[in-house]
Assembly symmetry: C2
Homo-oligomer: 523 residues x 2
C-alpha cells in the first residue's frame, strides 16, 4: 500500500494536492467549481459506451416503456410548465397499470397487508377478524414473524401452500404440489428466470424460443439478453387472433435450419391481442409440444380477465392432466400468474408465482440455487399474492365487500372491452377483433401510403409515426404494433381499456377524430 | 387448426381418448390414478436436464444459501418430527437477516409503510403526524396515489430526490443528482444490472471483473451467469483484511493475459471480512481505477455498520469528488445501498438504490431501457428506502423514539462485534480480525491434517466438513470460507453477529467447545 501511495504522490497520475487532506466541504466546493469551469477539457473517453457495452443488452427493445413513453413524459413536463397544447393531460393508455388509472385497491387485500406491515394494528377494532386471521397466518410463517426478514428463496411456505390450493380449486381438483410453486417478483421475473436456465448451445444448436407475434415484448427482450434465438409464430388476425397449430409447425420446421427450438411460449389470454384460447386449441398445442419435445411456458397472468360470454379460461396445467398420463407425466410446463392484473391490479408490489410441472429434480435444485443468489422475492409481494389466491369466502366477515369490489372491477372491464371493440369498428380504416380477455385493444389501423412515406422520412416505423402524432395531437399515449410484432405491411397499436368508462369514451372519440383527420391529411 | 386436430385424432401421438371431452374432475382423478400406477413406464427423457441446461447457470455457486443451509433445513424438520439431537434448535447464523434473529423493525418506518399501504389510516389518531406527512408525500408521487401502481422504471421521483439529498448530507455537501439515482430491488439487483451492461467481448477480450477474495458470492454468481472472467484480488488477512493496491496491480497485470479487466468491485465495509477502508486506501483505489481505466463498483450496503471507534465510513463518491476534477469528471462509479442492512434490517422489502457517476448519457438510456423490461422495483421497497434516507429529524414528533431504536440496534451490534472478536481470539486455533464494520465475523480456523483427510474422504472442502460437523453437533449454521474464497490452505467460516447478546454468548461458547473437541478428535 505504501508503495502505491508513493506512486500516487510521485505523480503517476495528475496530482491534485490542493484538494487532498483538506476539509471535505471546501474540497467539494472546489471540485464542483472546477468542474463548472472546465468540465470538457479534462474529460477522458468513457469505459462504458454504446460501443463497448454488452451487445445483447444493446439489442433489447421494450416498446411498452419505449420512446413513445419518454415523449409522453416530456409532454407532461411541458404541460406542467404551462406550455399550451391541444389537450390538458396525457392519458397513459400504454401500460396495464390499473390503479394508476384510478382503480381502487381491493380493501381486504390492503387491510391484510397493513396488518402484516404494522402488527400493532392487530389490536385495532377497525380491522375485520378475517383480515387479522390472514395476517397472523402469514406473519407466523415469516422469519421473526416479520415481512422484513428474507423468506426462503422459493417463497414463504404457507403462501406456496395457498397457491397450490388455489390452483387445485381453479382446475377442478387437478392436484397441485406446493413444492412445484415458486414465488416470484412479478411474472416477468419467473419468465426470465426459467428462460435463463433453458438457454444453451452455440451456432445451430443455440436454443430457439417460440413466441407469438404479436407478443408481449418481455419475451423478445429476455431472448435478446440471453442471446437465444427468437422463433416467431403468427397469430391469426382474420380468426380473432387464434393460435393455429399448423403455423406452429411451419415455424418450428423453419427454425430447425438455424437453431434448436426447445421452448414454446404461449400467452393466454393474449397480450396484446386479447384472445382467449379454446380448450381444443390448448390440447392441440400441448400435443404439439409433446411431439416436438418443447418445454412449454404458459403466461396466464390474465386468467381472471375473460369477458366474452362464450369464452372461458382453461389452464394449460388442467388440460395437460386431462389429456392423460403420457402427457401429464412427460410434458414440461411452467405457468405464471401475477398480482398485477386480474381484478386487484397490484402492479407495484411485484408479486407473482410460477408453477412447474415435470421439472427434473436436479433442475429444481438448480432453480432454487439461481433464485437464492437474489435472496428472495419481495415478501410484501408474496403476501399480496397470498390474498389473491386466498380471498374471503362465503360466511367470512369481508366476503360481501370483497365480492362487490371484485365484481365491480371485472364488470366494468367487460363493459369497456365491448365498448372499445364497438367504437373502434365504427371508424373507417380501423378494425378491432373482439376483446375476449386481458385488458387491451390491439386494433389494426390503415395507414395511407403518404403517411408511410412521411414516417420513412422521419426514420420511424409507420405505426410509431402514427402513435407519435396521436400523442402530440391528443395527449393519448398508446404503443405502436411494431413494438409487439405484426405481419409485414400491417399496422396496429395497443391501448389499455383501463380508464374509467366516461374517460374511455372520450379517449375513443378522440382517437376516432384523430384517425379520420389523419386519413384525410395523408390521402 | 382442424388439420392439426385431425393429426392428433389419427394417433400421431399416443391417444388418450378416455380422458378427452370428459368432465374435468373425473378425468383428473383418472389421470392422477394412472400416474400412480405407472409413472415410470411412460416417462420420456426430460428436455431440461443438467446436461442440456445453461452451463453458465450450472456453474453458479451461492454458498450463503448453499448445501449447508439445505442441511440446516433438514435438521429443523427432524427436530420438528421429534428426532433427538444434542440441541433443540437450529441457529441460522449464515445470513445477515436481522429481523429473523429477533431484531424489531424501526417503528417509524413501519408506520409510514402501513399508512402508504392502507391510506384510510391517514385519518387515524394513533399515527404520528410526521409519519403521515411522509406517507402523503410518497403517495402523492405514486400513480393513482397508490403503492399498487407501477413506478417509473428508475423509481419514484420524490424518493430519488430524497436519496440524492441523503447522499449530499452524508458526503458533507458533495452534490448528488436525482437523475443519477436508480432505485433497485435490493442492492443485488443494482449490482447484477450494471454488470450485465458492462460485460462484453469474447476470448481474450472478454470482460474481466475484479473482486476481492474473500468476496460476497453474489459477485462470483453474477460473473458466472454472464460468462465474464472473474479476476481475484486478495485482501490482506495479516493486516486486518486491508485492501492493498499492490495486490490490485498484480491481479490486473496477470489478468490482462487472458481477458480485458474493465470493472473493479469493492465491498466497504467488507463482507464477509468486516474491515472498514481508510480514506487513504480509497484514494489509492480510485487512483488505480483511473490509471487502469476500470469502472468502479462500490458496494456500500454496510455504510451505517461501523463499530471500531478509530474507523469511519467514507463513501467512494465523496473521496472521488475531493480528489479533484480529473477524477470526479472521469472515473465511472456505481455505488450501492440497501434497506436490508444498517439499523433497519428490512431485508424482505427488497429496497435499494444505485448512484452512478460519469455514466455516459447514452448508457443511462440503455440502463433505463433494461430496467423497464422488469417494469419497476417493488414500490413498497422504494417507500422503505425513502424512510431510510429521510428519517425523523430533531423537532419532529417521532425523532426521539426513532433515535432510541436506532442507537439501540447499532449500540448492540458494536457490543456484539467486540464480544465476538474477543471470544474467538481466546480459542486456540481460531484467529479473528477486529470486526470494524458490517455484521459478520470471518475467523480463521486451524483444521488438523487428519480432519483435512477426513474431509477429502467425504469429497468436501475441509471447512465445509468443519461447518457440517458444527451444524450436526451444535445446531449452529455458519458458511464455510470456501464459499467466499480464501488463500489456498487457509480455512475460515462466516458467522453473523445478529443473535441477541445472551444467545450470541451461548453460540460462541458452543463454537469454542466444538472447536476444542474437533482439534482433539483429529489431533
Amino acid at each position: 500500500m505504501q508503495r502505491a501511495a508513493a506512486l500516487v504522490r510521485r505523480g503517476c497520475g495528475p496530482r491534485t494536492p490542493s484538494s487532498w487532506g483538506r476539509s471535505q466541504s471546501s474540497a467539494a466546493a472546489e471540485a464542483s467549481a472546477v468542474l463548472k469551469v472546465r468540465p470538457e477539457r479534462s474529460r477522458r473517453e468513457r469505459i462504458l459506451t454504446l460501443e463497448s457495452m454488452n451487445p445483447q443488452v444493446k439489442a433489447v427493445e421494450y416498446a411498452v416503456r419505449g420512446p413513445i413513453v419518454l415523449k409522453a413524459g416530456e409532454i407532461e413536463l411541458e404541460l406542467q410548465r404551462g406550455i399550451k397544447k391541444p389537450f390538458t393531460e396525457v392519458i397513459r393508455a400504454n401500460i396495464g397499470d390499473a390503479q394508476a388509472m384510478g382503480q381502487q385497491p381491493i380493501t381486504f387485500l390492503r387491510q391484510v397487508m397493513a396488518l402484516c406491515t404494522y402488527p400493532n394494528l392487530l389490536d385495532s377494532p377497525s380491522f375485520p377478524e378475517d383480515a387479522k386471521k390472514r395476517a397472523r397466518r402469514i406473519l407466523q410463517a415469516c422469519g421473526g414473524h416479520s415481512l422484513g426478514s428474507y423468506s426462503a428463496s422459493q417463497g414463504v411456505n404457507c403462501i406456496r401452500e395457498d397457491v397450490a390450493a388455489y390452483i387445485t380449486r381453479r382446475d377442478g381438483g387437478v392436484p397441485a404440489d406446493p413444492d412445484n410453486i415458486y414465488l416470484t417478483t412479478g411474472a416477468s421475473d419467473g419468465i426470465s428466470t426459467i428462460l435463463k436456465i433453458l438457454v444453451s448451445g452455440g451456432g445451430k444448436s443455440r436454443t430457439g424460443v417460440m413466441i407469438p407475434i404479436p407478443q408481449y415484448p418481455l419475451y423478445s427482450a429476455v431472448i435478446s439478453e440471453l442471446d437465444a434465438i427468437q422463433v416467431n409464430y403468427y397469430l391469426d388476425e382474420e380468426n380473432c387472433w387464434a393460435l393455429n397449430v399448423n403455423e406452429l409447425r411451419r415455424a418450428v420446421q423453419e427454425a430447425k435450419d438455424h437453431c434448436d427450438p426447445k421452448v414454446l411460449c404461449i400467452i393466454n389470454p393474449g397480450n396484446p391481442t386479447g384472445q382467449v384460447q379454446s380448450r381444443k386449441c390448448i390440447e392441440d398445442v400441448i400435443h404439439f409440444a409433446w411431439e416436438e419435445k418443447l418445454f412449454l411456458l404458459a403466461d396466464e397472468v390474465y386468467q381472471d380477465n375473460v369477458y366474452s360470454p362464450d369464452c372461458r379460461f382453461h389452464s394449460f396445467k388442467k388440460v395437460l392432466y386431462e389429456m392423460g398420463p403420457e402427457y401429464s407425466s412427460n410434458v414440461e410446463l411452467a405457468s405464471f400468474h401475477s398480482t398485477s392484473k386480474g381484478y386487484m391490479g397490484e402492479c407495484g408490489y411485484r408479486g407473482g408465482y410460477m408453477e412447474v410441472i415435470n421439472l427434473h429434480p436436479e433442475i429444481k435444485g438448480q432453480l432454487v440455487k439461481l433464485l437464492s443468489v437474489r435472496l428472495c422475492p419481495p415478501v410484501s409481494g408474496q403476501a399480496a399474492m397470498d390474498i389473491v389466491v386466498n380471498p374471503p369466502v362465503a360466511g367470512e366477515e369481508s366476503f360481501e365487500q370483497f365480492s362487490r369490489e371484485k365484481e365491480s372491477v371485472l364488470g366494468n372491464l367487460a363493459k369497456k372491452a365491448k365498448l372499445t371493440e364497438d367504437l373502434f369498428n365504427q371508424v373507417p380504416g380501423i378494425h378491432c377483433n373482439p376483446l375476449q380477455g386481458a385488458m387491451y385493444a390491439f386494433p389494426r389501423i390503415f395507414i395511407p401510403v403518404k403517411a408511410v412515406e412521411a414516417a420513412q422520412a422521419h426514420q420511424m416505423a409507420p405505426d410509431m409515426f402514427y402513435c407519435m402524432k396521436l400523442l402530440e395531437e391528443t395527449g393519448i399515449c398508446v404503443v405502436p404494433g411494431s413494438g409487439f410484432g405484426q405481419r409485414e405491411g400491417t399496422y396496429h397499436f395497443r391501448m389499455t381499456i383501463l380508464p374509467p368508462v366516461e374517460k374511455l369514451k372520450t379517449v375513443l372519440q378522440k382517437v376516432k377524430d384523430f384517425h379520420i383527420n389523419f386519413l384525410e391529411k395523408y390521402a
